[in-house]
Symmetry: C2
Subunit: 254 residues, 2 copies
DNA sequence: AAGTGGTCTAGACCACTCA
DNA sequence: GAGTGGTCTAGACCACTTA
């Protein structure tokens, strides 16, 4: 009735803050530059530190900032485009799959969910190969590759070899099968403690989980669960290099 | 050095809490069930509400929980596998692309980053088509499809038609071009206010941003930026339906 | 030792949904 | 109007990095 209509529902402070900071990052900062510390920033904007942190968290999630305990908050470089899956289907560890470094391997009985995806029995042994992916000198992904023992029956039984050598042997055996197809899914997850350590992040950090099933002779011959840093990676599919959409500060040498 | 070694560095409370809750969800709850409210849960575990919320946030990020203001926190159903991109390349809006519902369309000059990805000039007009994707009765994605006016020169100039009809007309014109290839990238983002409303989430909610470029005659004929709910969606690629990996509570009718 | 981000607390108020 | 999750505060202490 006669009441003056107030401004529409006010946006949360942390949301406005995020917008302000985002614009400042575009115009007033260069990649690698260190921001003022959180206490100073909060005081400057007249908000509690927790509120400021909510805004910083969002910006870090979007890959705009990088925060490191004991060091500070820096302006992040644009996300790196990481090719995931080549146009043609290939086994992990093959010549067209040189981005990954085999780390270790063990023969274990995996969790029930993995066994289900592999169509193996609950107690069937599975080779668990750990691989690591580095791009532009930074670790970007950690992978667990599950290969049922039945898929690589001719694997030499020399367990004495080192972990990486053993991993390579499993991958080598895998190449001998004929790959009939693969299946891929991407979803958001949070880093387990071991993956987090490998990715140089804290546990719970947001990651993109890429799950790939490899088929041969109608069976699932292998299952890959690859964990990519969501803050620094843009997963690209297909033949070319991918797309760059986001606005961001100009890259400039420190 | 006679000091007794304490337990290794204690994990954060919210992390332990998350683990405990996660196990409880698996064993003691069914999909759709309502959890006790945050104040009660915090009291029960002897932590501050903010700490409990940190654990709940993680579980929501992982798609295990769903929280709605004014209602409560419920156990989320397993993520739905959403097919993204068919095996063969197809234009948006074609017969093999029936998952999307055209909403609206307008002719504008897009942001510089979009213009750059389209290889259009800064001031070149672009049709911006808004589409919405629903799966299992729930909105899962919102898309902005950018089509340079130059890509659809024969578009009838009847701006009087309604938004959806205009959107359909643009898509129809697009089909007449010969699609030579496409380019796709997936990354983590946070929902803008308009996308959030369309996805029934709060602004800033985590989303998977799928960016696709469509090529014809060596040019970029269209650019799609699709925003998927990260909490409820698992993006699947390729021919088959995708993989289900996560453990979770059994689905059971309420 | 100093300075940083990370965790945690105890409380307050707000926006929203629903009976 | 009662009850829920969402926002915000002001402060404390901890873990980590660097000098």
């Amino acid at each position: 009735m006669g009441t003056t209509q107030l401004e529409t529902v006010p946006e949360p402070k942390y949301w406005q803050l995020k917008t302000v900071l985002s614009e400042a990052l575009d115009s007033e900062f260069t990649v690698g530059e260190i921001l003022p510390n959180e206490r100073d920033l909060a005081a400057r904007f007249g908000v509690a530190r927790a509120t400021l942190r909510q805004a910083l968290e969002q910006l870090e999630l979007e890959g705009r900032l990088q925060r490191r305990r004991g060091v500070g908050t820096t302006v992040a470089p644009p996300r790196v485009g990481v090719p995931v899956g080549t146009a043609r289907h290939t086994w992990p560890g093959g010549p067209a799959d040189d981005a990954w470094e085999p780390m270790d391997s063990a023969l274990t009985v995996p969790a029930g969910s993995v066994a289900a995806a592999l169509d193996t029995g609950r107690d069937e042994p599975v080779h668990t190969v750990r691989r690591s992916r580095v791009s532009h000198g930074r670790p970007v992904a950690a992978e667990l590759l599950y290969v049922p023992a039945a898929s690589v029956p001719d694997l030499p039984a020399t367990d004495a070899s080192s972990g990486a050598a053993r991993a390579r042997a499993v991958l080598r055996e895998l190449q001998r099968l004929e790959l009939e197809g693969q299946d891929r899914a991407v979803e958001l997850g949070s880093a387990r403690a071991d993956d987090a350590r490998e990715l140089d992040r804290l546990p719970g950090a947001p990651v993109l989980v890429v799950t790939t099933r490899f088929f041969t002779e109608g069976r699932t011959a292998a299952l890959s669960v690859a964990t990519y840093r969501a803050d620094t990676c843009r997963l690209t599919f297909g033949d070319t290099g991918g797309v760059e959409i986001h606005d961001g500060p100009e890259v400039q040498a420190p």
